[in-house]
């Protein structure tokens, strides 16, 4: 039984309060107590909850942090950087690919010396998408010039967040600070956590206002130039200043943590050493695994083995001297790296530990490195024993047999190699001949003929059943209906999002034809590369041997999230006019990461980052009109569609294919239901999108070579319904019918009417 090995800690001098919360909740809780001025953020698992919890608290008036939903992490880092130059306190949280996307901004922020605090909720950065916890994102942070504080549990997440802002603002530091903890293991597990009972005591510790006396961009009496163009010979001196400040940050942290320990009774020395005083073998681990290993140490000690564990609380600056001292009398240490530095003969930590020992004159301690726990692979105590076994074996043999290896990888069984299950779809089944698109030779207009939907049930579906979407998900009915209108072969690219995740959970794939995934800020660019390679290889005759019966139709599938973060590349692809289709399934939010607002979320709608509370009632700004934005790129064909109007959508799919094969880029948006996050009944999906069309919130229309045509006008059919009739069908908008939200409803109605009127005008005038 793990009873506290060290003596009971002092309880501290400040009044505290116990809560039972997760790491993400504690990061948000600390941020709300600090009451930062600004948080610019973009959702990514597993860090998203930090913004969600802050928004929920904000909706009920518990803090005044201005929460700004960015258009991607690059944007969020920009918002934070700008805000930090303007003299207030700034906060952010991200993970993995999100961190990579903002990476170029990190050295800018540290190099121009503007403090802020960012939480990195560690997750793997990967090719095949993995959203679970390892340290591959953290290792990219090592060279950014940000001091890095580590947290092994939710208590540390809270404590480090309080200390981080004080460290960042210190006159001798003036650097942005990263607080890193393990995705899911720490971010999502609830524990007992001690907190400051009063916000005033937090402010007493960190200072009510940021440390003043440093220039900011809002002081008109003292104009400054931020970020000049700096060549050699000056640049190296800026770097030297930064290097000095970083090492200073180590000293300042050591001072701050002692002040903090006085107040709270919780101490975070540079190194967390567990039973190291007489240890002969040790294991060095970062973050959550560094706690689990302590149970293993206790078990080994009970067996008479002198084991100990080391886990740093800060890795930038790297505590080289402290580590060398801690290992001075250790015979062998296993360093576990939760990310590889491919080709580096060891992960980043082992190589830094080795350098530390060499620098400080220790050539005796044997060092073994194991890469473990990648992509969230659990670290059980049996794994801890295996890491100690490496060190024990070295001690016994007197040398290290295998200095570098992976731990926890498996070879697999030759008998279970992947076998083809389905035959590839036959071209003649996909090319039914039932759908025809002919261009009128005189007018140039397209005449589309489609059969009754019954006949098209013969056509194979492009996606196989067995995918893991929620019951009633609108994505898959919508996509297949669109695909039914396309004859012949499709090569599809799916952006990151629900449709991608639920169809490709390894080793399964529901895609019967060729499919590519790329991260959702870059699908349009990626598919345009595929398209151009097709045409170039075809031109060079390299595809002749395949006897392709026809050209492929290239389709990119994206959610509305992918059209936020990926708007730039989508516009780029449109302006280049590649022969491809971009099809957006719009479910009015980032549903894959837990229903955060997207720019397509309409005004007043409840999401997990536009909560409804005493002082906030859903999303604060209007929905994005993506179809009109894309139409403004002057591509040949833009359309909107819905499964509630199947013939209309089929015809548009057929036209889309014709344009994508003959003229260039097509963009289409289908509105689809997300019962889970719209808080609506599974079975009502089709009716809800139907109501969205009939209320004129989501008009069905096309823009063909610049000419707008409304393909279904509810007014003319006498079917127009009030907006509220649609909103009342969903739990996420039920509050909008309440009298206190009448103003929001009115503004929403006004905006829908205005856009509908503008669309009608365009429909009537081919020049508009």
């Amino acid at each position: 039984m793990a009873i506290e090995y060290e003596k009971e800690m002092k309880s501290g001098t400040v009044e505290q309060r116990m809560v039972y919360e997760s790491g993400n909740e504690m990061a948000a809780y600390a941020a709300h107590q600090i009451n930062y001025h600004i948080m610019g953020y973009y959702p990514i698992s597993p860090s998203t909850e930090v913004a969600q919890f802050l928004d929920l608290m904000k909706a009920n008036g518990q803090h005044d942090v201005k929460l700004i939903p960015a258009d991607g992490e690059h944007g969020s880092a920009g918002i934070c950087y700008g805000a930090s130059t303007a003299g207030g306190r700034v906060f952010n949280a991200t993970s993995a690919n999100g961190y990579m996307y903002m990476l170029e901004q990190m050295p800018v922020q540290s190099g121009t010396r503007f403090p802020m605090v960012m939480n990195l909720v560690c997750r793997s950065v990967s090719g095949p998408l993995n959203i679970h916890g390892d340290h591959s994102d953290l290792y990219f942070a090592l060279n950014t010039g940000w001091p890095i504080l580590l947290c092994r549990d939710p208590q540390a997440v809270y404590d480090m967040n309080i200390m981080a802002i004080k460290l960042a603002e210190d006159a001798e530091v003036r650097l942005p600070v990263l607080v890193a903890f393990d995705g899911y293991f720490t971010s999502h597990q609830k524990r007992r956590v001690q907190t400051f009972a009063h916000r005033e005591d937090v402010h007493q510790f960190i200072g009510e206002q940021p440390v003043r006396g440093f220039a900011d961009t809002l002081d008109r009496h003292n104009p400054i130039t931020v970020g000049p163009y700096m060549n050699e010979p000056d640049y190296i001196n800026n770097c030297y200043q930064q290097s000095m400040a970083m090492y200073k940050a180590g000293e300042v942290f050591d001072r701050i943590r002692q002040e903090y320990a006085e107040l709270t009774g919780r101490d975070y020395p540079i190194l967390d050493l567990y039973r190291m005083e007489d240890a002969e073998v040790a294991v060095f681990l970062l973050n959550s695994a560094g706690e689990i290993i302590k149970d293993v140490v206790d078990q080994l000690r009970a067996m008479g083995i002198k084991a100990g564990a080391i886990s740093p609380n800060i890795i930038r600056p790297f505590p080289a001297k402290e580590i060398a001292e801690a290992l001075a009398h250790v015979k062998a240490v296993t360093v576990g790296d939760r990310a590889d530095s491919y080709g580096g003969h060891g992960g980043n930590m082992v190589n830094e530990v080795k350098a530390a020992l060499l620098t400080h004159g220790n050539r005796d301690t044997m060092i073994i490195n194991r890469i473990y726990g990648l992509g969230g692979k659990d670290f059980y105590s049996e794994d801890g024993h295996a890491l100690f076994e490496c060190a024990l074996e070295a001690v016994q043999k007197g040398h290290v047999e295998k200095p570098f290896d992976y731990y926890g990888h498996t070879p697999g069984d030759a008998a279970t190699t992947p076998q083809r299950v389905l035959e590839p779809m036959k071209y003649e089944d996909l090319k039914t001949g039932l759908i025809t698109v002919k261009q009128d030779e005189e007018t140039g207009k397209l005449n589309v003929r489609i059969p009754p939907l019954r006949q098209l049930t013969k056509k194979p579906k492009r996606i196989a059943p067995g995918h893991g979407a929620c019951p009633g998900c609108g994505i898959f009915s919508g996509l297949e209906l669109f695909f039914k209108g396309i004859e012949g072969d499709i090569v599809a690219l799916f952006h990151t999002g629900c449709a991608m995740v639920v169809t490709t959970g390894y080793p399964y794939s529901a895609h019967k034809a060729t499919y590519i995934h790329n991260l959702f800020q870059n699908g349009a660019a990626t598919l345009s590369g595929v398209v151009e390679m097709f045409w170039e290889r075809k031109r060079r005759g390299e595809l002749d041997a395949l006897n392709l019966p026809d050209d492929f139709t290239f389709v990119m599938i994206t959610g509305d999230g992918g059209m936020d973060i990926g708007m730039g590349p989508a516009i780029g692809a449109a302006l280049r006019n590649h022969k491809m289709i971009i099809l957006e399934y719009d479910n009015e939010g980032y549903m894959n990461t837990g229903a955060q607002l997207s720019y397509s979320t309409p005004l007043g709608h409840r999401t997990s980052t536009s909560n409804v509370g005493t002082v906030q009632a859903g999303k604060m700004f209007h929905h994005k009109d993506t179809a009109q934005i894309m139409a403004a790129t002057n591509i040949p064909y833009v359309f909107t569609g819905s499964e509630a109007y199947p013939q209309d959508l089929l015809k548009k799919a057929a036209k889309a294919q014709w344009y994508a094969q003959n003229e260039g880029l097509v963009y289409g948006k289908i509105l689809i239901t997300c019962p889970l996050n719209w808080l609506s009944e599974d079975k009502m999906g089709t009716q809800i999108v139907n109501a969205a069309v009939e209320s004129c919130f989501f008009p069905l229309y096309e823009v063909e070579r610049g000419v707008t045509n409304i393909t279904y006008n509810p007014e003319e059919k006498n079917k127009k319904i009030p907006l509220l009739d649609w909103l009342n069908m969903m739990g996420k908008t039920r509050h909008m019918a309440k009298p206190e939200n009448a103003d929001t409803l009115h503004r929403f109605e006004h905006e829908v009417d205005r856009r509908w009127s503008a669309l009608k005008a365009k429909h009537e005038h081919p020049d508009l």
Partner: protein, 336 residues
């Protein structure tokens, strides 16, 4: 001071909830843990299995309780539970729900069956089996399955304070959903009162298997195609998604069907099976044959889309899906 009935070597009493997304097991686990930590002064940790699993997919919630002075370091899932709470009876078809139980562990199942029947169905050689008809109670009380399961779990965790839990339920609901407070409390109470137990002696010589680590994959670095590529796409057809249904399913009456394909247009799971046959005039035409229940998640969109009475919404009964399933005829690759 509260005492835990039993603990493992590290000092933990461990509970694992097995469910599908959408039944509220995550919330039930959270409330159970909070009741132990905030209400009874225990130390504890709780979490769910996280990933990109959606509603209807298998999920687990893990709860560890220990005495206040015990340090919590472990972040791994509960492999050896003292209590397993199974929120969906059919889960055992795809998940080893009782993995790692001890001889004296308690297995609670949401079911209308008897403990004997469940012992058979879950292939248990013995032990203590508890049953509560959580779906039935929830339907009658117009509340959620998780409240009934929570009531039953409280009965099994007699070290926790029932009154404390009721005040948590009251507090968490009264502001937003004041009308839901009484039904939730009734559902909780009925779960507590109506759970039935039976203990079965283990036959001589039977030893319970050690848990198998869940994170050992089928493929490995010698057999996995490079780059994570899937070279046998479409293999999702091998999956059985019938456990995603949370009680309701569509029934198909072919004689009322006009083969309009409205159901096929709205089905997210591609469950409708068609066949080409000659129509009355001898021309080839498509005819709806039925539903492949292996993939049906019970959303019932098709029932709403159907212009006739050919599709209806029904409570799922044991065996109906297997009996009435019309399987897809896929163009399967020849297997060696």
């Amino acid at each position: 001071m509260v005492t835990l009935p039993k603990v493992n070597a590290l000092g933990f009493f461990e509970i694992r909830l097995e469910s599908i997304g959408g039944l509220g097991a995550n919330l039930a686990g959270k409330m159970l843990a909070e009741a132990g930590v905030n209400g009874s002064g225990l130390n504890g940790v709780s979490f769910s299995s996280y990933g990109s699993e959606k509603k209807g997919s298998p999920v687990k919630a893990h709860i560890r309780f220990c005495m206040p002075e015990t340090l919590i370091r472990d972040t791994t899932p509960v492999e050896r539970p003292h209590i397993v709470g199974i929120f969906h009876e059919s889960l055992h078809k795809t998940t080893h729900v009782t993995s790692g139980i001890y001889e004296d562990s308690l297995v609670l199942v949401n079911s209308t069956k008897t403990p004997e029947e469940l012992k058979e169905k879950l292939c248990l050689s013995g032990g203590k089996i508890a049953v509560v008809d959580a779906i039935g109670i929830a339907l009658e009380e117009k509340n959620r399955v998780n409240m009934a399961m929570l009531g039953a779990l409280f009965r099994l965790c007699d070290f926790l304070d029932v009154e404390q839990m009721k005040s948590v339920i009251r507090k968490s609901l009264e502001k937003k959903y004041p009308n839901a407070v009484q039904p939730a409390l009734n559902t909780f109470q009925r779960g507590y009162d109506e759970v039935k137990f039976q203990t079965f002696a283990f036959p001589e010589g039977i030893e319970l298997p050690e848990p198998v680590r869940w994170d050992t994959p089928l493929l490995g670095y010698e057999t996995q195609p490079i780059g994570g590529m899937v070279v046998n796409p479409g293999n999702s057809i091998l999956k059985d998604l019938s456990i995603s249904r949370a009680g309701m399913m569509p029934h198909f009456l072919s004689d009322k069907c006009i083969h309009c394909a409205a159901c096929d247009n709205v089905c997210p799971d591609y469950c409708f099976v068609w066949e080409e046959k000659p129509d009355k005039k001898g021309r080839p035409q498509m005819f709806l044959q039925g539903i492949d229940y292996q993939y049906c998640k019970g959303c019932l969109k098709c029932v709403y889309a159907c212009p006739t009475d050919a599709l209806s919404s029904e409570r799922e009964e044991d065996g109906y899906a297997d009996e009435h399933r019309v399987p897809h005829l896929f163009d399967l690759a020849a297997r060696q």
